[in-house]
Amino acid sequence: MATTVLGTERADNYKETELCLGLPGAAGAKNEGETPNKASGKRGFAETVDLKLNLQAKEGVMDLNENIKNINSKDKNHLPAVTIKDPAKPPAKAQVVGWPPVRSYRKNVMSQKNAGEEGEKASTGGSSAAFVKVCMDGAPYLRKVDLKMYKSYQELSDALAKMFSSFTMGNYGAQGMIDFMNESKLMDLLNSSEYVPSYEDKDGDWMLVGDVPWEMFVNSCKRLRIMKGSEAIGLGTHLINHLIITIYNISLKHQELWRNARAEPELDVFSLPAEFPLFSPVSMKKTRHTCATWVEP
């Protein structure tokens, strides 16, 4: 009769997103028809991120094109998100009349109080509290936090850690944002058994916490869910898109640089702009080729 508070139907969603990305052929074939549990998901993910391998486009190419087209039309800071079904909502329970046995009078007073809270939030334009619900996989608790009480991701992370004592969050970098460009760090985080916070934004998409500047996060976050790193794969995929797009853009730049550099037999790689990662010509070529394959219809 007892049901867990948190739902458990997440697996299928991840499967969709893996395919959409055009995962390495090997992974795609292996995972097809298989409900990605933690173990298989991990493997698939590793292959996703390993751009140095021989990546092949799969059925998901069209979807990726969609995403890439969309990136121009969307807000610069709004990453192309892979929309997945809300995984955290438990199956809706029918409200039982008169249970729990709280007197109507008290019930009315409490709901006035809560409505007042919401109303106040709306009327003052969000300058008062920004309460969002926080749930954590496996914990019997859900809590509410006021995002306005924190000034950075680190503060929020500390507060959540206190709230859920068995919960550890991956470290945020100096800037307070997940270091997306460091793919191995991201990989470690998402592959680990450490917990990773995700959030539902205004559009109903589930994103990894830390991908946008703090203020923007506070304004767009509707609820938080802390999930195991290895289960955050589906959420990480939009980051992969971002990585891929970024790398593609870099590769275009590199193409230009290399073209210009051809005149000089010895290329001083240190003359490249600092923000561009250093790819060796060999891997660069492969990446360029792969990106081109993805992008060109």
Binding site: A2, V96, P100, S104, Y105, R106, K113, C135, Y141, R143
Partner: protein
Amino acid sequence: MGPNPKMRKEFPDSTRSSPFPDEVLERVLSLLKSHKDRSAVSLVCKDWYNAESWSRAHVFIGNCYSVSPEIVARRFPRVKSVTLKGKPRFSDFNLVPENWGADVHPWLAVFVAKYPFLEELRLKRMAVSDESLEFLALNFPNFKVLSLLSCDGFSTDGLAAIATHCKNLTQLDIQENGIDDKSGSWLSCFPENFTSLEVLNFANLNTDVNFDALERLVSRCKSLNVLKANKSISLEHLQRLLVCAPQLIELGTGSFMPELTARQYAELENSFIQLKNLNTLSGLWEASAPYLPVLYPACTNLTFLNLSYAFLQSLELESLLCHCPHLQRLWVLDTVGDKGLEAVGSNCPLLEELRVFPADPFDEEVIHGVTEAGFLAVSYGCRRLHYVLYFCRQMTNAAVATIVQNCPDFTHFRLCIMNPGQPDYLTNEPMDEAFGAVVRTCTKLQRLSVSGLLTDLTFEYIGQYAKNLETLSVAFAGSSDRGMQCMLEGCPKLRKLEIRDCPFGNAALLSGLEKYESMRSLWMSACNVTMSGCRLLAREMPRLNVEVMKDDGSDESQADKVYVYRSVVGPRRDAPPCVLNLSGL
């Protein structure tokens, strides 16, 4: 003012059982206050019955349909104070239709003739109209005390009538009612020369009252010792009221929202310091941490602290409790969490009663946690605890066993695990052993509410051990008819049994045939009882009223809601169409 005592000497001296003249007997019996003692006394012999009847000034009627006002008036001619209870308790949770009954007016109609000098009326779960309140105000010149708890059907107009016409009013206590709150102008209806008020509780009402009228009222009522204001009274207002009434024993603050200057804060603090006699504090709507310290000086003698409408966190509660060493009763919201309850355990060694209410009972996703840990912490620190009402989302058998070991004197144990049918969250077993421990250890237990996943074993334990149990509430529990049978066969003092959503059927219902006349009432809803089972009960036990209410769209044979109660006046005649009276058919 009574009839000539000589008229009552009906018996020749040789058959008189009492060595005392009636007057002496009456005088002695008038010292008995408890109605249970009085009922026992009245059974001794006819003389004592008569003497007791003449001397009873306060009558308590636990079920308004168990007797008629005419019978009451005939037996007790000199009553000054009446307490009446009406609807079944589950009407608090919307399980009873609004027009169900329990109208007070038929009682007032008899009282105006038989008790014209009635002074006190206390009503719980009765239907009260504005017309009734006006009737009361106009026809009872000695009327002093009106208490309305969980009643409905009236508006602030009715209160205006009371305020206008009751020249001798000492108590006006309006609590948790379904009141049509039209305006606060009723308070301005107390005449300027009216000074007798001792108790004023209008915390229930939301509309603004005229503060100046209130201030003048409080100033001129020098005997006022209980004042419970509503949310419209600000902190600034409160300060002015406290200055007028430093003699207060019970205070319900208004809104505790911070809006004070430093000087105002100091003034407020000072006025709390002046409250030397305060033993009860409540209200504290929207209480916030920076302003709680003004209360500290007034907390030294507090015995009852009601924070059940203040959304406090653990630290705020802890800071407050440090100043309440004599606390005996504490009501809080579960926003204080287990940490807050640890503070209770540490700071309140004299605590006897704890009630923890849920802040978000109906939102399953948001949880302000109190768990078994909080309850345990309280039990370690508060060994005198004997009354608990505890709403939580998880519990274990082991925790409850330890709790009752620490506090074996429980008289009232009401545990509500909010998710229906939830097992021990650590072992995944039913909560049978928890309640087994409660009834085994707490021999003085009078009231019990059970919850969580429970099999018939729980009820076997209850039947076997709960020998003093009077009130039992059961929901989403049990495995078979046997569960209910155990309760009915086992608990000799059982008076009120209320059951919902349990797999108990006709066999269970009928196993209590012999029992129900010794009980006040039985409620069963969403169980497996059928119409034919109810009809059989009604037929076999003509002195019971068997009422059935059916839900819309339910099977014709199902008896969705059953209410069974003993009565000396037979089936009631004011039942609405939705209530089927099976008695006397």
